[in-house]
Symmetry: C2
Subunit: 483 residues, 2 copies
């Protein structure tokens, strides 16, 4: 069997990110997650030699999408998947699900029907064009994911007396103080050399309007600042309709990193609105993809070796249900196995490639879902979706974007921990994690958090048997050296 080099090049260039051999293993892991604004419709694959075969390793979104497009182009396609489920990191935990992590701890999820935790991806930016395209093509209904909510909380253990404050109040005070200080500098002639006279006038006007400064360029408590930061009593009708402004926070607290990191968070390209989520849980996407490639997937297949020669590729795997060792041969192989796992598999990769694979750190985020008896964050605190950030280990509490206003139990994201916080939470038992999430999250909703708690579930990605981490954390250095 001879493989046509031309066909291979066409394949590579047409799919853009798909590799026929190990040469492009790496990039596969990001399909459906990156590069979307370059997306201009599905690839126009063609020229498959009659009977040419491809074996796809991994039935996550990348593997399933590769299989879908390759089969459409005329290839004979098979997928090997380690789990007894397609979808990969596209995953939702629901009541009745059982999950055993590395280390052996097993959780039996007890959420009410319809409730879920998305342990992995959970929000889709408007610029992830590839994923949005296939969601529509495959009938996945999307609803808005409320990313930015002015009425959530910001909590720092180092500021505001350790009490959470509303995002709008903290952000308004940050902007107001910045505006006042810059206006003062301008009026003190400190910027006469840097900025033209005309632009200094424009700048002063902008600072007053954006930062809600008064006529003397001061940021002061009053109805003007309250219209951004919030009122003690908002304007309304009736005999008590007159608004009462709110007091300002002091500059030292307002400069706490939790404030400006929260503000900058929302301006981050990957975090900007509008964002989406599938109606019914993130795994609706994986399920819709799986439906498209029904019959192609061999589940419970643990790949142990990938060997290639002039005739093609041989993949050795073990059936994890029976223990039987098997092999699968094809002309081509598309590997979507996470690098953290791939680095432990017997391959013929070059030393350079192996170094690249091992250089990519996989992050070990921890997510914790907490089911509460009622939506007290909506009913008592007027918070509908969005995130309350904290400098505690849990990182944030995120409020559900589905079934807003609904009575009955709902699942909060009680932690989305990274770095050291994730490391600590991953080291705990599932029960200890829930306790930590309740203790820390109570800072935002002290009256209700423990009182309304029903049950919880957690996923520490460093303990997920089939990924050993959540997502590849390329940085500028590793990208330059290895990509």
């Amino acid at each position: 069997m001879e493989r046509g080099v031309t066909t291979r090049r066409q394949l590579l260039s047409a799919m853009g990110m798909l590799g026929g051999t190990a040469a492009l293993y790496l990039s596969m892991t990001s399909l459906g997650h990156a590069s979307e604004t370059q997306f201009a419709g599905p690839p126009g694959l063609s020229g498959a030699r009659k009977g040419a075969s491809v074996i796809v390793l991994g039935a996550g979104l990348a593997g399933m999408l590769a299989a879908y497009e390759l089969r459409k182009a005329g290839y004979s396609v098979k997928i090997l998947e380690y789990q007894a489920r397609a979808g990969g990191r596209n995953w939702s935990l629901r009541g009745g699900d059982t999950y055993t992590e590395l280390g052996g701890a097993t959780q039996n999820v007890a959420f009410q029907p319809g409730n879920y935790l998305n342990p992995g991806p959970w929000r889709i930016p408007h610029h992830h064009r590839t994923l949005l395209h296939y969601c529509k093509a495959f009938g996945v209904t999307l609803e808005p994911f409320i990313q930015f909510n002015h009425n959530t909380f910001v909590h720092s253990s180092q500021a505001f007396g350790g009490k959470p404050v509303r995002f709008n109040a903290a952000a308004a005070d940050f902007e107001g103080n910045i505006a006042e200080l810059l206006a003062k500098s301008i009026n003190q002639k400190a910027l006469d050399e840097a900025v033209t006279a005309e632009d200094r006038e424009r700048l002063l006007e902008a600072l007053r309007g954006w930062g809600m400064l008064d006529k003397d360029f001061k940021y002061t408590a009053g109805l003007r600042s309250a219209s951004h930061r919030g009122y003690d009593r908002p304007p309304g009708g009736g005999v008590n309709g007159a608004p009462i402004p709110s007091a300002l926070y002091n500059l030292h607290d307002v400069l706490d990193p939790q404030v400006w990191t929260s503000m900058a968070f929302f301006m981050n390209h990957e975090m900007q609105t509008t964002m989406f989520q599938p109606v019914g849980g993130m795994d609706m996407i994986g399920k819709a993809f799986a439906k498209q490639i029904e019959g192609l997937v061999t589940q419970n297949a643990k790949v142990t070796k990938i060997a290639q020669d002039a005739k093609g590729v041989t993949v050795s795997y073990q059936d994890t249900q029976t223990g039987v060792a098997k092999t699968e041969k094809a002309d081509w192989c598309v590997c979507t196995i996470p690098l953290s796992v791939l680095s432990q598999i017997d391959t013929q990769l070059t030393d350079e490639m192996k170094a690249a694979i091992q250089a990519v750190p996989y992050s070990g985020q921890v997510k914790i879902g907490l089911e509460m008896k009622r939506r007290f964050w909506e009913e008592d605190d007027y918070i509908y979706g969005g995130h309350s950030f904290t400098d505690q280990e849990i990182g944030l509490v995120s409020y559900p974007n589905n079934n807003l206003f609904k009575d009955g139990p709902a699942v909060l994201l009680g932690a989305f921990a990274r770095d050291l916080g994730a490391f600590r939470l991953a080291g705990m038992t599932p029960e200890q994690r829930i306790e930590a999430a309740l203790a820390q999250g109570s800072v935002f909703h002290p009256e209700s958090y423990r009182k309304e708690f029903l049950s919880g579930a957690s996923v520490a990605w460093s303990r997920v048997p089939w990924t050993l981490g959540c997502c590849a954390r390329w940085n500028e250095d590793t990208r330059k050296e290895h990509y």
Copy 2:
């Protein structure tokens, strides 16, 4: 018939904003629109004398809600409504609707089934607690209204060469320049007296992190600024995965008022996220309210006189279908007629009250709906909901928040004009308004705007026969003097 003063006081204090006589006429117009954060559940009305009657003038949300609660409390309630429709300003125009404005111009709305323009209210803030309460109680399903979208446009005829720019790019450059200039001032010791040494350090760190400054506290083109303002080519996978940063706008343009007014807009209390809209059109609320008070409303009733004496209230009205003059008597009267109309009705109000009524200017906004063959703003520009602002008369183009990703025609809000722009558009024929909206809105979507246009509809509130204006524009002065 003697009216119990105690009962009357209880009624007033229990409803908070409801008046039994003209004394509280004014406040009724704002029920359901204001004072919501003071809302703590429906009023606990009680003590209605057996057989006591109330006549409610106007079947907008305020009138219907008053009728609903008063009937529940035991009163005998009737409503007089000028239109042949309940809901008042809570209104959606749909295909098949006919609307005749003052001046006689009639529009036959030609939108596709399911599409609509909300000429009046169209978005519900999370702090409008009263309205949210009754939406839930009356079964109105709400969906998120996407108020804040980083990927919309900002257009100024005076900046950026007259071309629209993306909000995220303009806002990032505004913040970056502010941060750089303030950092420069601090490093030049201009603020040593105003800010402590410790806070100056915190401030510098904040400016670098929030404003995406480099290590030298400069805001420069590069991957760091691009992560807020957007990339020329965003980071992705594949062989072309390396991101390409975008060039910065110049300071003079970035200081254009359209930029900072857009930024400040989103920080305004009334405009902050999370916001909602009813699934299916704003009038779903009016319809749900109307269902609750079925049988109480007399439509086509034009009130001509409101007279009160010791025995009660007599309301004279004309049946606009038959021309017959009629009267209705009751112990009490709740008036929700817009002040702009009430000022033309024969009443026994005190001179002070009449002065108050006439002192309240009603704004004359203009909204224009444009039905387009397809959602080119989503498909071509990746804009899902939100507003693109312009300094042209139309004020903005707002993108629909319903049926995102759907194929087929959809209705854009092609204008939400105020002040001088509204005045000009209101002076045009409906056809001329559509042409103006197409001409001006094309600045955002030059390739598609005219090409995809199907039909339009407009409402100039100064020409609406039953309100003569959109909403009362209290300001601090008129509030102090007359409220």
